[in-house]
């Protein structure tokens, strides 16, 4: 990654130039190219789960699309770093849309940035395919005719993890919540499920964001004697709290840790010894089918041995579907029209299989509950998850009527 960055100043542009069929050459584009902007965290907490891996996934989708369909024009992938700050992200988005003729922005982890990009995309009538961010508001109160929320959302994670753990007997909960809107939302959604399923929330503690030392909060969680400690935080905060929980013998003491926003890359950073037993929800895992394993293999060869996260896989799937829709439409000029077409067409790609997109912009697919393996159970690199339950697509996401999206009549 480093090497590549040094080689290419400014945003990297990789052109996948394919010869088009004669009939479609006159298709109407904003500028004769489809320009895909991958915007995510290139250097911070979320760089491993999105970062250059997502750029690779987007390029891979373009390549596979061109192999299968014969592209009819130039397709370019550019990327930028939003540093997890809404002001930087929206600055880049405006520049991309206004000056650099980017047609679609993909990925964008960090909910605050995603909400900002969503609004700008709508204003400029472009397309926003979110894979990295969790905010379920994107398909709720903030839903837009220019957005598709692809991979997961906080509702799906909270519900998946919350309901499965209560079913397994985790009746009493204590929350360790990052004190910001996103943490509060995670906590609220999970607590609702837990209570609905007959569980009980014994207490919660809100820690400053970001925090380094969680010992005090963990001790409070330990003192509550709750069966499950829900970690309503993200990134480095989650990693540090899991690490310190292991130091204080919380899992050994019989309490279960539930990560409400954990990615496979976090498990990798923690190591199985520390992370074992952690339960959370994933929308995609590499070791579930031959196609996924093949993709993971190729991905890891190009990304310093890292395996793809669900966010990166989601970028692949989203870009693929976008290209299909533009192809069918013969134009990328009108963002809302492209999204409409995407919603109309059933989705089908090698990683996520068959699926649909709802009127509110929510992409629908199965999700699974996973538990991190013990070190002795792991057979190879990145063999981290045991899939303990699959939540069918129909139950995995928030019911259409509950989101409060204005597009749903």
């Amino acid at each position: 990654m480093t090497h590549m960055k040094q080689m290419l100043l400014g945003s990297l542009a990789v052109a996948a130039l394919c010869v088009g069929t004669a009939g479609q050459a006159s298709a109407q584009y904003t500028d004769g190219t489809i320009k895909i902007g991958v915007m995510n965290d290139q250097s911070g907490t979320y760089a491993d789960l999105s970062g250059q891996g997502s750029v690779f996934a987007a390029k891979k989708a373009v390549e596979d699309f061109c192999k299968a369909q014969k592209c009819f024009d130039k397709i370019e992938v550019v990327f930028a770093d939003h540093q997890n700050k809404p002001d930087i992200g929206s600055g880049v988005a405006r520049r991309w849309y206004d000056v650099e003729q980017v047609d679609v922005i993909v990925d964008v982890p960090t909910s605050s940035v995603a909400l900002a990009i969503n609004q700008i995309t709508r204003e400029k009538n472009k397309v926003f395919l979110n894979s990295g961010a969790g905010a379920s508001d994107l398909t709720g109160s903030a839903c837009s005719p220019n957005l598709i929320h692809w991979t997961y959302d906080t509702w799906a994670l909270a519900h998946g993890t919350g309901s499965a753990l209560v079913k397994q007997g985790g009746k009493t909960w204590f929350f360790l919540t990052a004190d910001y809107a996103f943490g509060h939302a995670l906590e609220r959604d999970t607590a609702a499920v837990v209570e609905q399923m007959g569980g009980k929330v014994l207490g919660k503690v809100r820690h400053p964001f970001p925090a380094q030392d969680f010992s005090s909060f963990l001790l409070q969680a330990q003192g509550s004697k709750a069966q499950v400690i829900g970690l309503a935080n993200a990134g480095a905060d989650t990693i540090n709290s899991i690490k310190q929980a292991s130091e204080f013998g919380i899992v050994q003491g019989g309490q279960k840790l539930a990560g409400l926003l954990v990615f496979i890359t976090d498990v990798h950073a923690l190591g199985l010894k520390t992370a074992q037993g952690l339960t959370f929800t994933e929308a995609w895992y590499w070791d579930t089918s031959d196609a996924n394993r093949a993709f993971a293999k190729e991905f890891s060869a190009a990304n310093k041995g890292n395996y793809p996260s669900m966010v990166q896989a989601g970028v692949y799937s989203a870009v693929m579907h976008y290209l299909k829709a533009v192809h069918a439409l013969g134009s990328d000029a009108d963002g809302a029209k492209v999204v409409e077409k995407m919603k109309e067409m059933p989705t089908d790609d090698k990683l996520f299989g068959k699926g649909t997109i709802r009127a509110d912009g929510r992409k629908i697919h199965d999700v699974m509950l996973v538990e991190v393996k013990k070190p002795e159970e792991s057979k190879g690199p990145w063999d981290y998850h045991k899939v303990i339950a699959t939540i069918p697509a129909s139950e995995a996401f928030r019911p259409l009527a509950d989101g409060g999206c204005a597009l749903v009549k």
Binding site: P208, S215, N240, A269
Partner: protein, 293 residues
């Protein structure tokens, strides 16, 4: 059994102990800053970055040279201290004749460079460093990991040794004299610039030592120093800038105050130190242990 504001006494004991442990980090870091400020009049904004370097060098020693934690505990302060010596010789020494605001700005710039370079090289999702003394002891009111116990004991020892060296030994007396009247001390045949350079090296070494101690507890992360430095500044200001004893006592004390805040108003725990700092600056600007200048 009585409860204090709804918190059972056992829990409170546990929180006090944890606060003391966090205080150990504040004490070590603010001690280094106080040594540098007290003896050199330089506000070392690079301190947080040097703490981060300490953790990183420990990680590198393990990763590339197979040197375990205990070796790192000795080697890291020396290595990072040496970089401090270079920085002092090449850069900081050029600013002694100027207002100390320039020292602050220079070291602020250095902190940005160091943090940026580490982020560029290692990303900022953090690197794991395993705990050298796993396990712990149930104290009845809480489970105390052995490692945390070690941190508190060791840093207390380091603080006391440093304080003793500066306040009670001949070397310390020279140092203090060199700050007051460098010309006079120079006239007695003591190489003052070299002494000042070494002082900076020692201060930086203390920061690096805190970094090594932190590595097994927190993930080794390029941003670990950036947020801490501001808090540690506050600790030094509250203790009295340049007061060695002040920085130690305040470091541990504020750790405890912060620990209690985490129980009663956890959201405010990151800010309570600044509130105290503002109050102290208003009421007793020289700090709790400082002498008015």
């Amino acid at each position: 059994m009585f409860e204090l504001l709804g918190v059972p006494p056992q829990a409170l004991m546990g929180q006090l102990l944890l606060g003391l442990i966090n205080g150990a980090f504040y004490a070590l870091l603010s001690l280094g800053l106080a040594v540098i400020f007290g003896l050199m009049n330089v506000i070392n904004f690079t301190h947080g970055a040097q703490y981060m370097m300490g953790a990183f060098v420990a990680w590198m020693l393990l990763q590339y040279a197979g040197i375990p934690y205990w070796g790192a505990l000795v080697l890291v302060p020396v290595i990072v201290g040496a970089t401090g010596v270079v920085i002092e010789r090449l850069l900081i020494s050029r600013l002694y004749h100027l207002d100390h605001l320039y020292g602050l700005l220079l070291t602020f710039g250095l902190a940005l460079i160091i943090e940026g370079l580490f982020r560029q090289q290692y990303g900022s999702s953090g690197l794991p460093y395993s705990n050298p003394i796993p396990g712990g002891q149930n104290l009845g009111f809480m489970f105390l990991p052995w490692y945390r116990g070690w941190v508190v004991g060791f840093s207390l020892a380091v603080c006391l040794v440093t304080w003793f060296t500066i306040e009670r030994t001949k070397l310390g007396a020279y140092l203090r004299a060199a700050t007051e009247r460098p010309d006079l001390v120079q006239a007695f045949g003591i190489n003052v610039p070299r002494m000042i350079t070494l002082t900076y090296g020692v201060g930086v070494g203390l920061a690096a030592l805190a970094g090594v101690l932190a590595a097994p507890i927190y993930t080794v992360n390029p941003t670990m120093g950036a947020n801490l430095i501001i808090v540690v500044f506050a600790v030094v200001v509250i203790g009295g800038m340049g007061s060695i004893l002040g920085s130690i006592v305040t470091g541990f004390g504020l750790g405890i105050v912060e620990g209690l805040t985490k129980v009663f108003w956890p959201e405010a725990s990151a800010t309570v130190i600044f509130v105290i700092m503002a109050i102290v600056l208003m009421v007793r600007p020289q700090g709790l242990f400082g002498t008015p200048r």
